[in-house]
């Protein structure tokens, strides 16, 4: 009977490829052929899938090489001339480097400080709501903004923050001064972060709620018997219980630090607010697709990706040391 070293199933198919002991062909080619005969169907189905990933994921990765060339569409990727790190140096020396990197970092850090804890706190509080109908109502309503498209959210923000918009109306009601908020660079980050929390706090709490529900009730009882009040229970039972979840999500957040969501910024920013709103992603878009500075823009993108990988790996490694939880 013939078996490959790794696969065990499909005995009836294996029976077909019976051959006398000792005449089994060796070599990768033969192994491939045997494998193919066994799993013809899978091979057939795998081809389009592999094709998709190669065409739409890996070929663009090869396209990153234009970051090191002077890409000219007519010459193609292969034919364009090699320029090494010229584009990278240009970016590092340019005025935009400091601005975009700083803005990306600052917005990300704000997001981590304010945006990350918000769903956690919300989940913790929601978990304390005992009335199920009330709880489900809250959930249904707060999940809703997540499904509204970025365009609509941006449209609402633009209208509400305009001179005569809702938010200014409220400010005026309290005696404050009206101002076109999206024209003020110093307000941009606040608007971005707060609207992000508004949109995501409900939906983001789902994963924490499910982690909370998996904490053993007996631990709470034990803590209560030991004399812990609600607050102490929260610190000593609840938080440790969801710490793995928090850690993993935190790692992922750090890994995405440098690729702050650019769609919303693209819709909300304007030259007036570039100084605080222009981030690496939006800069890549403007330089690459509007100015058609393909190679330069790709170089910036590559820089961004590398920083992301470094951040992700660092966060992951640190977490493994401190918490024993990590992505890999």
């Amino acid at each position: 009977m013939e078996f490959t070293e790794k696969q065990k199933g499909r005995k009836h198919m294996a029976a077909k490829s019976l051959s006398p002991a000792g005449t089994r062909k060796k070599g990768v080619g033969a192994m491939l052929k045997r494998d193919f005969m066994k799993y013809k169907g899978i091979y057939a189905l795998a081809v389009p899938v592999l094709a998709y990933f190669i065409i739409f994921k890996y070929i663009p990765m090869y396209g990153i090489t234009i970051a090191f060339k002077n890409y000219v569409p007519t010459k193609g990727i292969f034919g364009s001339d090699w320029v090494g790190f010229e584009h990278f140096m240009r970016f590092f020396k340019s005025v935009y480097f400091k601005r975009t990197v700083l803005n990306t970092l600052i917005i990300s850090v704000y997001d981590v400080i304010f945006g990350f804890p918000a769903p956690i706190i919300f989940a913790l509080l929601l978990n304390e709501v005992k009335n199920n109908i009330f709880k489900r109502t809250i959930q249904t309503i707060t999940y809703l903004p997540h499904f509204i498209s970025t365009v609509v959210i941006a449209g609402m923000i633009i209208d509400f923050t305009s001179q005569n918009g809702l938010i200014n109306n409220i400010i005026a009601l309290f005696g404050g001064e009206r101002t076109d908020m999206l024209m003020r660079p110093e307000m941009f980050r606040g608007i971005y972060i707060i609207s992000g929390i508004w949109q995501g706090v409900g939906w983001g709490s789902i994963i924490y709620l499910s982690a909370l529900s998996s904490i053993d009730q007996e631990q709470y009882e034990a803590a209560y018997i030991d004399g812990a009040n609600r607050w102490q229970q929260a610190i000593n039972v609840t938080l440790p219980g969801i710490m793995p979840t928090i850690t993993i999500l935190f790692i992922l957040k750090i890994g995405g630090l440098m690729s702050v969501g650019s769609e919303k910024i693209l819709l909300l920013y304007s030259p007036v607010t570039y100084e605080t709103a222009d981030i690496i992603s939006t800069f890549i878009y403007r330089k690459g697709l509007l100015d058609m500075d393909y190679s330069f823009s790709t170089a910036v993108g590559l820089f961004n990706s590398i920083i992301n990988i470094i951040l992700l790996s660092t966060a992951n490694a640190l977490s493994r040391k401190v918490n024993e939880t990590s992505l890999w």
């Binding site: 396209g63 990153i64 365009v151 009601l173 789902i206 018997i225 609600r230």
Partner: protein
């Protein structure tokens, strides 16, 4: 099980928590309420009104009339419906095939294949290389440029794979003995047994298509191909409302342009608002499945 008694402090906390939750409800809903009220208001009165809106100022459907008069909205809807229906169908089939391949005991290169695919979740070509690829493939200005690049979401495929792996092998084996090939097994055996997962994944893809605008913005040139969100962008983000305002006086036009934006938001969001309550629990389940796998 011990009964945990509540102290006075606990009651106060519960009360404050309840108030807080009510506040969350209000602050989530009010922007939408404001939009609804504004869209139903008489434009000139709305312009003059400063303050919160709890009901329309005056009552007028002229904003909606203006919106529906706009041919671009209809074009946007048609395009988006096409993308959502055709796109989601393609997504689901392709993802199912991929999930099937990765879930069966199969070829020796299955492990490396998995690795190759998962890497694409973290590393990618970037904006410009993808743009160049689309042009080279001749997909520029085609609606397919919105469907093909995102055909398989690795995350969704992994979720589906987990579901497929949960189906007992014996079912597959008996189908094979009956002479079924892999294609038949996938569609007649596996998928019917994983309907909940299929439904959730379909919803994820559908919502993603409905809300997407950026790819359309960079890959489409003809306005006749614009999906709804892109049309919306022009109206509510860039304030290009001139197509819809037909009044003579500048003031009138300006007034309508404000309420028209709110009416447009409503017209674009009502489908989601209607569908959402029914599908909410599917979405939530989807997040959980994805989370557990993660």
């Amino acid at each position: 099980m011990a009964v945990i008694k509540k102290s006075a402090g606990d009651h106060i906390f519960d009360f404050i928590n309840a108030v807080f939750m009510c506040f969350m409800i209000v602050i989530t809903l009010y922007p939408f309420i404001y939009v609804v009220m504004a869209s139903l208001s008489v434009p000139k009165l709305f312009l003059a009104h400063t303050g919160l809106l709890l009901r329309p100022v005056g009552f007028s459907l002229e904003s909606y009339e203006a919106v529906l008069r706009n041919p671009n909205i209809k074009i946007g809807y048609v395009n988006t419906v096409f993308i959502v229906v055709v796109g989601t169908l393609c997504n689901v089939i392709a993802t199912a095939i991929g999930a099937y391949v990765l879930s069966r005991k199969g070829p020796f290169w299955k492990g490396p294949l998995m690795f190759i695919i998962v890497i694409t979740m973290f590393v990618g070509g970037g904006l410009v290389p993808n743009y160049i690829l689309i042009q080279n493939l001749g997909l520029y200005n085609s609606l397919w440029s919105l469907i093909l690049p995102g055909l398989i979401s690795t995350h969704n495929m992994i979720v589906m794979r987990t579901a497929f792996q949960g189906i007992p092998e014996s079912l597959e084996e008996s189908a094979r003995i009956d002479g079924a090939n892999d294609w038949t097994i996938l569609f007649k055996v596996i998928i019917p047994l994983a309907i909940p997962t299929m439904a959730v994944i379909s919803l994820f893809y559908a919502v993603s298509h409905w809300n997407s605008w950026f790819s359309a913005m960079i890959y489409l040139k003809d306005k006749t191909k614009y999906p709804l969100q892109l049309v919306l962008r022009e109206i509510i983000v860039q304030s290009q409302v001139s197509d819809m305002t037909t009044m003579d006086s500048y003031m009138d036009r300006y007034a309508v342009s404000q309420t028209v934006k709110y009416a447009t938001i409503m017209v674009a969001t009502i489908p989601i608002l209607c569908v959402y309550p029914f599908l909410q629990k599917y979405f939530v389940k989807g997040v959980m499945i994805g989370a557990i796998k993660g």
